[in-house]
């Protein structure tokens, strides 16, 4: 008996027992749907973390010279206290490192705080206000949509000018041209010279609520004590160049701080690796729990299917006896029941794939996660479903195949 014939027979039987079959699909259905969904989400978060999150917080091929790490999940109290005792990064440190690097890089100072910006009687609260040097826009990849960025000269002389994010522009100027207008930051007036292109959102937070003013402008008083920066940010052309630049920066800082060889750094050179390591940790958890959940639902699904099939074999003992009496060999009966359980599980798997795909698109539509569907996950999901069917079907099918035709026929 051909396999297609067996599948056709299986579909006939399933159609005749819709409710029972439907019930038996659930386990595999959930398992496969979850598998596809989890795969898409992990994929999406991965893209998000590597491209957007890490890129936005630190930047590609970029390192930050700081007193302590900025991105710090799970830090002990004693660690915090140790960090708080470290000396700050001074203008002198930043200048010395920037001047001392031989690798071709871009570098900028950065100091930020959350401050309210006002204009025309309107306010943007808790905007991300940064004092920076002129390369900041280039390093952070912030293209100017309107007006211009400030120059090196403006950065050094501390002219009170400001480049604002698109949300700040919209909120304060409501469609009117902000260039040349005045805004107040920390009570002091600044002239708007540029607006940055909209940057979108990250985890639901706007990336356009910010303002950047020259490092030596009055904004310095808002964000840091005199002569101190949060970070010197350095962007290289490649990972290798970034590593070289980091080594040089470390040497310069250690000698400036007079650290002996055995002493630890009392500053950090932070890269996006830290962020990605954090994500890697989450991913490792997902990689343990995801497959565990998928396997649990598939095992449960398999057990349900096995039971349904055992019931079917018991119910259809006479039919099996009859088929054998008409010339069905063991392998014919085996194939018939295997086809039935694979069809069951395959149907569950197919429904799971459809649901998983829908889930992927739904998540993409309503959440910030760029969930991405992968063909591999669909193929694997279907294979997992089918495999569950085979594994679950073998025992009931072999029981059916081994039935003695006379005993089977005699059964009521």
């Amino acid at each position: 008996m051909a396999f297609l014939e067996a599948v056709r027979l299986a579909l006939q039987t399933l159609r005749a027992q819709k409710l029972k079959s439907g019930f038996s699909l659930i386990g595999v259905f959930i398992g496969v749907a979850f598998f596809i969904g989890a795969w898409s989400i992990t994929n999406g978060i991965n893209v998000y973390m590597t491209e957007k999150f890490a890129g936005t917080i630190i930047g590609v091929n970029t390192f930050h010279l700081r007193r302590r790490p900025n991105f710090t999940p799970n830090v002990s109290d004693s660690m915090w206290r140790a960090w708080a005792r470290r000396p700050r990064i001074t203008f002198g440190d930043a200048e010395a490192v920037a001047a001392g690097l031989t690798v071709p890089v871009l570098s900028a100072w950065q100091s930020s705080d959350n401050v309210t910006i006002e204009a025309n009687g309107k306010q943007v609260r808790d905007a991300d206000v940064t004092g920076a040097t002129e390369r900041y826009f280039e390093i952070k990849n912030l293209p100017i949509a309107q007006g211009r960025a400030f120059s090196a000269q403006e950065a050094r002389s501390g002219v009170p000018v400001v480049v604002i994010g698109s949300e700040v522009a919209d909120k304060l100027f409501a469609g009117r041209d902000p260039i040349g207008k005045s805004v107040r930051i920390g009570g002091k007036p600044y002239r708007v010279i540029g607006v940055v292109e909209p940057q979108g959102k990250l985890f639901g937070f706007s990336l356009d609520r910010f303002a950047v003013a020259p490092a030596l402008s009055p904004v310095q008083d808002l964000v840091n004590p005199p002569g101190v920066v949060d970070a010197l940010i350095v962007k290289a052309g490649s990972v290798a160049q970034m590593r070289d630049a980091m080594a040089e920066a470390e040497g310069i800082m250690r000698s400036r701080r007079h650290l002996r060889p055995r002493q630890d750094n009392n500053f950090v050179l932070e890269t996006s690796e830290g962020v990605l390591e954090f994500w890697g940790g989450i991913q490792r958890i997902l990689f343990v729990f995801g497959p565990a959940l998928v396997s649990i639902s598939l095992v449960v699904g398999g057990i349900v299917i096995m039971n349904i099939m055992l019931m079917a074999v018991a119910e259809r003992t006479r039919e099996i006896g009859l088929r054998k009496s008409l010339g069905a060999r063991r392998r014919d009966i085996m194939r018939q029941f295997l086809a039935e359980s694979v069809t069951l599980a395959g149907l569950g798997g197919a429904l799971g794939v459809v649901t998983g795909v829908l889930l992927t698109f739904a998540l993409k539509a309503v959440s910030p996660l760029p969930t991405t569907l992968s063909g591999v996950s669909i193929v694997l999901g279907l294979m997992l479903g089918g495999l569950t069917g085979i594994v679950a079907g073998v025992y009931p099918a072999s029981r059916a195949a081994r039935l003695d035709p006379i005993v089977a026929l005699r059964q009521e």
């Binding site: 039919e319 009859l322 009496s325 010339g327």
Partner: protein, 243 residues
């Protein structure tokens, strides 16, 4: 009266002997106690014979039919079918023989309740490996032979008892078997319907079909040309009679 060659172990049956059993035995081990359902049945049936097997309940009629039908294997003796010794064949080989050589009609019809008459008749052809088109054509032909050409798409519960048994007969015939076996084919039917079924059997016999059937009723056995009686697992009488 000698209906048969003198057969000894090691012999081969004559060519026109389609069924030969030699000291055929079947014992059931019932947890220590052995039930000897057949105790050495020697029987020879020629091509195109019409044989009725009779005997009291428990005498071993069904046991013998199951052995002849290759549904069961003997615990002693020999069984030759159509020149082939089948008493020591394995499971799959027996399945082949059931499929090609034997048409079995049961007392309880044994039709698949959810399948149409046509599909029921097609079943043996599925296991013979025929394609769908050919199957359908042959099954339709077999249904026409038993007078059910107009009931092909009916399910068993839409048919009368006699019609169901005729579907079962069509299914038994569809593979063009060497022998048609029937274990009390009229046991579940009223006498009028039984008569119809006997007419079908008679017609098949006249067309050259070898028929062996088990029955309790003398007027059913009267349709056969030869009556074999079993008693306590042995052949008691074996007589030809005028049809």
């Amino acid at each position: 009266m000698s209906l048969a060659q003198q057969f000894r172990t090691g012999d081969t049956p004559l060519p026109d002997i389609i069924i030969l059993t030699h000291k055929l035995a079947r014992a059931y081990d019932m947890g220590g106690e052995v039930v000897r359902a057949l105790r050495g049945v020697s029987l020879q049936i020629r091509r195109n014979e019409y044989v009725a097997i009779m005997g009291p309940s428990g005498s071993g009629k069904s046991t013998l039919m199951n052995l002849i039908g290759c549904l069961d294997t003997p615990t002693g003796g020999e069984y030759w079918l159509n020149g082939q010794k089948v008493s020591d064949l394995g499971d799959d080989a027996l399945a082949r023989i059931r499929n090609k050589e034997i048409g079995f009609v049961f007392q309880t019809f044994n039709l698949l309740p959810r399948a149409t008459a046509l599909h029921n008749v097609e079943l043996p052809l599925i296991y013979a490996g025929l394609g769908a088109k050919e199957r359908r054509a042959q099954a339709a032909q077999a249904l026409e032979r038993v007078g059910l050409g107009d009931r092909m798409e009916h399910r068993p519960n839409e048919l009368s008892g006699g019609q169901r048994q005729r579907v079962a007969i069509a299914r038994a015939l569809v593979n063009d078997p060497s022998i048609l076996l029937a274990d009390e084919p009229t046991g579940n039917l009223d006498s009028a319907t039984s008569g119809e079924i006997m007419e079908v059997f008679g017609a098949l016999h006249r067309q050259g079909q070898t028929v062996v059937m088990v029955t309790h009723e003398h007027d059913i056995a009267a349709h056969a040309a030869r009556v074999v009686t079993l008693r306590d697992g042995l052949v008691a009488t074996d007589q030809r009679q005028a049809a």
